[in-house]
């Protein structure tokens, strides 16, 4: 065990950095979003617009013209390879690979930043909690602030948290190149080809379609509540209003489905939505798939075989 006494200011610097990281990402996202749309929502709640997952499916890139079956299968394996990495330099490498892939797939910077912002809360919590709570093991390097001796800042904990953060971000950045580069129905068809049961694919497609409908419905109901003078506060009345709100949302969506489902049956729906497209795999699809599988395996193998130097190990 290795104990270094540091000035208490370093603790403050660490905390400030964390706050900036968390707030910075959210700020950046809302700034980028505000620049795109000038309309402002009535509600004072944070903007929770549901992003369309395949909004950028019309572009052209090596990811767009790749057969989705190969894309999903090979990158699914790659995700797990990245998730299993143990050494920090390789996690950093995975992060840069994902960043490059997102740029190559022509994913807008704001979309990537939104992914990072979404994981920043969870990762920020780990960065804050892990260094202070991991059990001290022999060989650990502890930083102890000079005026608060009871705080033990374990660098191994920080290490773990940074590793988790990098892996989470690397995988998050990789989501858009895989799912955002082909239209959702095509992605679902590819899933069906990959032996995902038909029922699941159908439910996913229906659930995704209705998300936007019900989100719209919920917004309308919320506007109505605001117009009647409702405001959120910590009280039983607020909880009652929200309980009824959820009940109403549920009743409405339920009745709507029954109507739509009857209409679908009347039009000959038999559990299958006909698709008029066939996948054709070429040499390039195999090569790209092979590249990502090899990349994932190379990361895992070098993680197991090569001992890389640890940054800030002390």
């Amino acid at each position: 065990m290795h104990i270094t006494t540091v000035s208490v200011y370093w603790l403050a610097v660490f905390l400030i950095l964390l706050v900036f990281l968390g707030f910075g990402c959210t700020r950046l996202v809302s700034f980028l979003r505000a620049r795109r749309s000038s309309t402002r929502s009535v509600s004072r709640d944070r903007d929770r617009t549901i992003p369309a997952i395949d909004a950028h499916a019309h572009n052209h890139s090596p990811f767009h013209n790749w057969d989705p079956r190969f894309k999903i299968a090979s990158l699914f394996l790659y995700w797990f390879c990245v998730a299993s990495l143990q050494q920090l330099p390789l996690c950093l490498l995975a992060f840069f690979i994902s960043w490059a892939a997102a740029r190559l797939a022509k994913i807008p910077l704001s979309t990537s930043m939104k992914r990072i912002a979404a994981v920043s809360g969870f990762v920020g919590m780990f960065l804050l909690v892990m260094p202070l709570t991991v059990p001290v093991k022999p060989g650990d390097h502890l930083l102890v602030p000079d005026s608060f001796q009871f705080i033990q800042f374990n660098l191994r904990g920080l290490h773990l948290a940074v590793r988790i953060g990098l892996k989470a971000t690397a995988i998050a950045l990789m989501m858009d190149p895989v799912l955002g580069t082909s239209p959702l129905p095509v992605t679902l068809k590819a899933l069906a080809h990959l032996r995902v049961p038909d029922r699941i694919c159908q439910m996913l497609s229906l659930a995704h379609r209705y998300l936007f409908v019900f989100h719209h419905e919920a917004k309308r109901m919320a506007t109505g509540m605001l117009a009647r003078g409702f405001h959120k506060e910590t009280s039983l009345a607020t909880l009652k209003a929200m309980g009824n709100f959820i009940g109403m949302l549920f009743v409405r969506s339920f009745e709507r489905t029954e109507r739509v489902y009857d209409a679908m049956l009347a039009r000959g729906y038999n559990g299958q939505i006909p698709a008029f497209m066939e996948f054709q795999a070429g040499k390039k699809d195999w090569l790209k798939g092979g590249f990502w599988v090899m990349a994932g395996l190379a990361l895992v193998i070098s993680d197991l075989m090569v001992q890389l130097p640890l940054p800030f190990a002390g």
Binding site: I50, R115, R199, L204, A207, V213, E217, L239, I246, V251
Partner: protein, 204 residues
Amino acid sequence: MHISDGVLPTSMAVGSYAVSLALTAWSVRKTRGDDLPKVAVVTSSFFVASLIHVPLGPTSVHLLIPGLVGILLGSSAFVSVALGLLLQSLLFQFGGITAWGANSLMMGLPALTAGWLFALIKGKTLFRTVLAGAICGGLGVMLAGTVLAVLLISSGEDFLGVAKIALVAHLPVIAIEAAISAFTVSFLYKVKPELLRTAFPAAT
């Protein structure tokens, strides 16, 4: 709280994927063919409901509602929760894609338990139904927090601190969700009581 990518060891991530896939398959088989679109739609309405933030003092918490999903869908609740979490991961990055199995277990098992318990203890009167709703709503969150803590702790002793904090963070949500579930169940009892009756045919 949903677990992000890179936290769980590979063995845990893959193992929970396998268990979740098996439970999803079971849950789909328990669902009648006619009900599939219905379950899909309930999935999306719960997805939307979980975006709602409830104020709590200076901060706010978002609803998890595994209890309500269980109450309304019974044995189909697991597939609903699993698909909802998959969509949340794909659209918002709430919960990592490699941790989907763990997250599904964390929300799906409490949903199934709450649904089963609700079918068991709900009576004929409004009071008993609402009481059952409150118990199951609170129980759902409590179990979700417990499963999360168990998953984190079995990922290594380093996560003990995080698990403790996550468990404490769930405590106020238990009370809020119990209240919201009670109000929602009371609303449904008065407006569309047949929704509360269909769930979990196995237990009745």
